[in-house]
């Protein structure tokens, strides 16, 4: 009885993914201790996670409202193209990045308006946006990569601990976690996803919440696009095809429900990290790439299945 009073009523959603990351990491560390445990390898994995993790911050908010965003990869590619073109035209990196982020946020506001005010299905709206943004990126880049002097942007994700990109990603994660967990806006995001009618009954405007959510999430895809440019060092309109699926997988592994009302920023970041660890570990082990794909897929399904089982047990225990 006493123990029950001390322990939290619910395990935090990110506990599962954290255990999974540690276990998978330990397994690969034992299998290939000489290469996998090197600091350099840790840094590489962290850098490879940055883009997916930053996108997952925004996607978590979208999925908590009960929505989905399929235009992530296209928006990331568009951002690399916009920044590269502006740099090539002689603008400073600061101006180029700010303009690209403004474009991304504008796209998000538009998607949010269609979903929120016009009550269109997020799946359909963002499926359309996926195609439109990809086409726009290709048009803007004349269907080829844009070479440019990245004027320092390439250092964002340089291969050392001082790489600003790593710290920006971490800082953003903390910021979004606080926004969702400790602000009125965060409460409203969860309320809209949990029961939109109840939220409306309490005077909350679900459309306004959704517009803000899609704007912020597209902004996060834009920031991820800048990080992507820093590793590519060119603007590539065909980059990041299918990225959104990795991002959605990370969010779901992190404990979110596609039905809305549930999700964890910390869990999503850990989910992104888990997929990187599997990929990297498999490479170190010399496993063929198809086995990584199977492993990642199996983990997604397992994560959701375990979550279901845990929940039905909880409900069963209470009855």
């Amino acid at each position: 009885m006493k123990l029950g009073a001390i322990l939290p009523e619910r395990r935090p959603a990110w506990l599962g993914p954290l255990v999974a990351v540690l276990v998978v990491y330990a397994v690969f560390a034992v299998l290939t201790p000489d290469t996998f445990l090197r600091t350099q390898n840790l840094l590489t994995m962290a850098r490879q996670t940055v883009v997916v993790a930053i996108c997952a911050l925004g996607m978590t908010m979208v999925i908590v409202t009960g929505g989905i965003d399929l235009s992530t990869g296209s928006l990331v590619a568009l951002t690399t193209v916009v920044v590269a073109r502006l740099l090539k035209s002689g603008y400073s990196p600061g101006v180029a990045v700010l303009c690209a982020l403004a474009v991304a946020a504008g796209v998000g506001a538009l998607i949010g308006t269609l979903v929120g005010r016009f009550k269109m299905m997020p799946f359909v709206v963002t499926l359309g946006a996926m195609s439109i943004l990809r086409g726009g990126a290709k048009g803007l880049a004349d269907e080829q990569k844009i070479d440019c002097d990245t004027k320092g942007l390439e250092k964002l994700l340089s291969a050392d601990l001082a790489a600003p990109g790593l710290w920006i990603a971490l800082g953003l994660a903390v910021l979004v976690a606080l926004l969702l967990g400790y602000t009125k806006f965060g409460r409203h995001v969860f309320a809209v996803g949990s029961n939109e009618s109840a939220a409306r009954l309490c005077g909350i405007d679900p459309a306004r919440v959704k517009i803000l959510v899609y704007t912020l999430s597209s902004l996060s895809f834009g920031i991820a696009g800048v990080m992507e440019l820093s590793t590519l060092t060119v603007g590539d309109p065909t980059d990041s095809i299918g990225l959104e699926l990795d991002v959605i997988a990370a969010v779901v592994i992190g404990g979110a429900s596609l039905a809305g009302g549930e999700g964890s920023v910390v869990g999503a970041v850990l989910g992104a990290l888990l997929m990187t660890v599997i990929k990297t570990g498999a490479v170190h082990e010399g496993m063929p790439s198809w086995t990584q794909e199977i492993a990642t897929g199996a983990i997604i399904v397992m994560a959701v299945a375990l979550d279901r089982a845990r929940r039905s047990r909880q409900v069963g225990a209470r009855r």
Partner: protein
Amino acid sequence: MTDAGAAPAVLELAGIEKAFGAVSVLRGIDLDVRSGEVHALLGENGAGKSTLMRILLGAESADRGRMKLAGEAYAPKSPGDARRAGVVMVPQERTLCLHMTVLENIVLGLEPHLAGFVRRGEARSIAERALGLVTGVGRRIALDARAGQLSVADQQLVEIARALAQGGAADDASGERRASGGHVQGVLVLDEPTSSLGHDDAARLFTRVHALKAAGLAIVLVTHFLGDVRAHADRYTVLRDGKVQGTGDPNDTPPEQIVREMLGRELEEQGRAAGGSEGASSRHEGTSSRQDDVLLDVRGLGGHERPRSASFVLHRGEVLGIAGLVGSGRTELLRLIAGLDEPARGDVDVRADKGVGLLSEDRGGEGLMLARSIAENVTLSKRGSFLAMPGRILADGARWIDLLSIKASAPSQAAGELSGGNQQKVQIARLLREDYDVLLVDEPTRGIDVASKAQVLALVRDLARRGKGIVLVSSQLDELISACDRIAVLRRGALEAPRAASAWTEEQLLLEASS
């Protein structure tokens, strides 16, 4: 059942009893329905009508008693059995697949097929015959129209056609029988068919019901509308507390007597004795009702379907009751006042500084986030500062759990795990926390236990005494009379002028609402 048309009663029920655990719901029901008649089944909620119909349709089996259909023993083990015997029901809520065509809806589950492929010609002729039975010649409903494009009234006719098709009334065999004898066999149960229809549509529906009756169907009409019963039923039977309280020809019986049979003399007197004293005492204390301090002025308010028009004034410190049958537009009226739906006409003048709050009748669907914690539900608000610290939310939740004595393990417990009464208190806590001046309270005691009911009603009175204005909608007439200062009746979408609660009896309220 080929020559059952000649028998006096096509359906006979004798001594039907049914108990769920220790609760006995039906205590010996006798009922007979004749071929070619409309037999109205009346009774308040909980009288046992639904259980009786479930037994008739094979969804439930009787503990004791026997049923006869066309002179032969009838004991359906499933709704499928009942359908095959020709006993079908059109439920109160609409069950059409709105994206599919009328034809597809009518033959749904009956599709004649060859190796899995639908035989379209045959399906069409079944649907045509069934729809023809219902709409007669010169029908206005196209078989290939989408069900969703039809008016509610036409959808109702399609539902009836589907029920008849399922009961075999549109089979080739019975078609031949019809050709020879002009008779359609079977029993059709209509559950509250007009509750969502306007006056003209209801009249049109009954024209068709009369035609079906003339064709030989036995029709059981479950309804609350006494007016419909008097105009369209050949006989009526009143159920109360699982027993038949009266039966006869509705045109030879004064409506007051039918209402008395429904409410029950002794029960009503008990209710008035208990509710009256409590109500009177709280009303005495509640004299803070200030006639000059108007919180709400509603003028000619109407929605797109219901309500048609509503006007009233709500003062500070008073509880205004709204009585009306299911489907009369009570919930819709509250939603219009709360600003959740756009009014089609009229306006609401809110003179309350702190606004209007609504307690939804649909706790799970609209009122609460069932998967989230009590604390989050109570504190969900448009207002508040930018920061929302979890610790403070939990403390706030704990305070309200304490204030309203909500039975919960912790403020972090999910709202969906609470009992109905405690969920209701969570909703109320949220309204109180917002400190609205006007509370619109929709069916606050639905689905909660007796003790919680009394608590919730006492809370409503108490809030009025402390200067709130309250609009209370309830199907429980005794509840309205004991808790309200004034009561207005909503009849087929039109709100009548409120009168003092002490001037009403349950009988009068029911008579007014159902006439």
